[in-house]
């Protein structure tokens, strides 16, 4: 008999694969890795609603599917509303004795586009209404499924197909929208950032997110070798660089209290992270300095918040 769990050091991971192989994600896709790990943390007894994007398209080409859990493709902008209806419906039926009482984990997933842009309203509504669900945002920092167009989560300076670097432009001219703080401002019980480059931290957070009563939001860093112009063997490394440089810090906000999960002694220079990706290739030293300054500022602000409002 196959083992139920795999032991990695002091960690136990569910051995079952909920995302079957044969999907059509690009090699080295960070989103695919994140979904695989997240589902191991979610386990059975879940219903998943997923917004349109790479992960939807790559996992469900008829007549096959990678999903071993009940899964539905919603639309691009309505995963929040959809999971609200599923949760409200099943819970109403349980209250009325029409469905057996059981603890079902309601999970919605979407890309950065489906979360920060077109689906922001629907998710905000679902969080504000307090439905009991976990939302996982796969942040690969652009609309990858449709060909690397910019989103409001695209970082300053990145070249995308709708904000390309060119004679008159250095790519994205705006700062990345801070979704984590936006959702934390909804006053929901749990908000976190996570990255598959730190798999155990990620798995723990997903477990926490589904266990908590009420809405939870996890912002997941998802390296996209295709859209970021890197090679497929550097996904984990770039993910680590993002955290080590302070570009993507790992932290949790639980009941409004902050906990930074991983704090390098000294942040690596952001240049190391930028130089690893073709989407930043065009940046001049002065632009890189500007980005470094902003990363320092943001990281200091995060630390200040964590000191002021520390989680126990």
């Amino acid at each position: 008999m196959a083992p139920d769990t795999i032991k990695v050091g002091k960690h136990q991971i569910d051995a079952k694969e909920y995302l079957a192989p044969g999907h059509t994600f690009c090699t080295g896709c960070g989103e695919a890795l994140a979904i695989r790990l997240a589902c191991k943390a979610i386990g059975n007894d879940a219903i998943i609603a997923m917004a349109t994007g790479c992960s939807e398209v790559c996992t469900s080409p008829l007549p096959v599917t990678s999903w071993q859990l009940p899964w539905l493709h919603t639309l691009f902008e309505n995963a929040g509303a959809e999971i609200s209806g599923i949760e409200a419906g099943l819970k109403a039926m349980m209250r009325k004795g029409k469905a057996p009482e059981r603890d079902i984990k309601f999970v919605a997933m979407g890309g950065d586009g489906g979360t920060s842009d077109i689906g922001l309203q629907s998710l905000s509504g679902a969080l504000e209404r307090g439905h009991d669900f976990l939302y996982l945002c796969w942040d690969n920092e652009a609309y990858m499924n449709t060909g690397i167009q910019r989103s409001s989560a695209t970082p300053y300076g990145a070249s995308t197909t709708t904000a390309p670097a060119g004679k008159l432009s250095m790519g994205q001219s705006t700062q990345k929208k801070n979704l984590v703080e936006i959702f934390a401002a909804h006053g929901i019980p749990y908000v976190a950032t996570a990255s598959p480059s730190y798999p155990f931290d990620f798995i723990n957070k997903v477990k926490k997110g589904v266990a908590i009563k009420g809405p939870a939001y996890i912002h997941v860093y998802a390296v996209c070798p295709t859209g970021w112009r890197t090679t497929s063997d550097r996904t984990i490394e770039i993910g680590k660089l993002a955290t080590e440089t302070g570009v993507f810090p790992l932290y949790e906000i639980e009941g409004g209290k902050y906990r930074i999960n991983y704090e390098p002694k000294n942040l690596k220079p952001v240049e190391e992270y930028l130089k690893a990706q073709g989407r930043f290739r065009h940046l001049s030293p002065s632009e890189i300095a500007k980005i470094q300054e902003k990363v320092n500022e943001d990281f200091a602000l995060l630390k200040e918040r964590a000191e002021r409002l520390p989680a126990g």
Binding site: H73, N78, I86, K96, S122
Partner: protein, 391 residues
């Protein structure tokens, strides 16, 4: 034993949804639909109905939450109008394509610009190709009856499709009429519990909403079309049972003083009752004219149409939705298409009016009859002929 109570149209549809013991209502307010969802939330918050009322932040989310709830196996109800209906549009296709029996009342209202709140069928007509079953109610009793029977039809395992009840904004939604309400036991006997064969269930994981290629999409859409068209016998069967139980029988197209009539006037919705008076007047004057009230809009009732127009020489169709730049009105156009090649001897005229709550009097329906007959005799008409509209 049924009782007769005064109810505005909004409360009639809400009462039917309450008696149907819906599990979820997800809705967003818009005039003239608001009374419906206010009444539903009252029911929930007074304990008169055990259901979840999901106060979503938009109509797009309303229909999305209905999709989620219905897919999870909950009996689901909502209501909207006009701009809200248009915001839902994308989701309407998916709820139909996912075979989910959501029931929705639409307090029909014109679309802007100009900003407005009054009734016509611009919203209804925009959903003709979404795959929803659709009826037009002509009075508040019909609003109740069509809402109640909609759950039974939509949830029938042979159907499993969403159902829209169109009810005129204000002139029905806000007008009080006497409505017969059945006893709860009678409703329970008529309406068995909803059970979707593929409800979202962790014990039976299914994949919903796959990506499809050109190699299969066409076949699927064809099958969906065949399925939607094929629901007419079930609709009739259930309306017949409804009649046997509650004493009120419905047909896709109602005929009034139509037998042997040379001219038939066709009207959908509440104005058909005004048109009835015009027909009575003309009958008294010895004119050979009858009325067809169009109830079932989707699926299109071809056979019932052919039967209803048997023996008639002229058909005058009245429409309440402008089709900017398109051929005539939507109902007129579809009637012509359905009759072409089948009844080439039948002359069809079309007249539009009553946009955005503009009242149409009995005398104006008489004008519709006269002008319709004249068009039929002449054999030609302007692409757009209107009544009661200046210019």
């Amino acid at each position: 034993m049924s009782k007769r109570v005064p109810l505005e149209g909004s409360f009639a549809t809400a009462e039917a949804a309450r008696m149907a013991d819906v599990d979820v209502i997800a809705a967003y307010p818009i005039t003239p639909q608001s009374h419906i969802i206010e009444r539903m939330s009252e029911f929930v918050h007074n304990g008169e109905l055990k259901a979840a009322f999901v106060p979503v932040e938009s109509e797009h989310s309303a229909m999305s939450a209905c999709w989620g709830a219905s897919g999870a196996g909950a009996r689901t109800y909502t209501a909207t109008a006009s701009q809200g209906f248009f915001l839902m549009h994308e989701v309407l296709y998916f709820v139909a394509g996912m075979r989910l029996p959501v029931v929705m009342a639409v307090s029909n209202r014109a679309v802007g610009p100009p900003a407005n709140i009054w009734g016509d069928y611009s919203d209804a007509m925009s959903a003709s190709y979404t795959g929803w079953l659709q009826v037009f109610a002509a009075n508040n009793q019909e609003i109740f009856d069509f809402t109640l029977s909609a759950f039974r039809i939509a949830e029938d395992p042979r159907v499993l499709l969403p159902f829209m009840i169109h009810m005129d904004g204000f002139t029905l939604s806000h007008v009080v009429e006497a409505v017969f309400l059945p006893e709860q036991e009678e409703v329970d006997a008529f309406l068995p519990p909803y059970k979707h064969p593929y409800a979202y269930n962790p014990d039976n994981p299914c994949c919903y909403g796959s990506v499809m290629s050109p190699a299969t999409y066409g076949e699927l859409k064809k099958a969906q079309d065949v399925h939607v068209r094929g629901t007419i016998p079930v609709i009739k069967e259930i309306w017949k049972e409804f009649g046997d139980r509650f004493g009120r029988y419905y047909k896709p197209i109602d005929s009034y003083k139509a037998e042997g009539a040379k001219t038939l006037l066709m009207v959908a919705g509440g104005l058909s009752e005004t048109a009835k008076i015009a027909v009575d007047k003309r009958r008294e004057q010895g004119e050979s004219v009858g009325l067809l009230t169009l109830h079932l809009w989707r699926p299109f009732p071809f056979e019932d149409l052919y039967k209803a127009v048997e023996g008639a020489e002229n058909l005058v169709v009245f429409d309440r939705a402008p089709t900017l730049g398109g051929p005539t009105g939507p109902i007129i156009g579809e009637m012509k298409a359905a009759l072409f090649g089948v009844r080439n001897d039948l002359r069809v005229a079309g007249i539009l009016g009553a946009f955005c709550g503009r009242n149409l009097e009995v005398t104006e329906f008489e004008e519709v009859i006269d002008r319709g007959n004249a068009i039929c005799e002449r054999g030609s008409q302007e692409m757009v002929e209107t009544v009661g509209i200046r210019g």
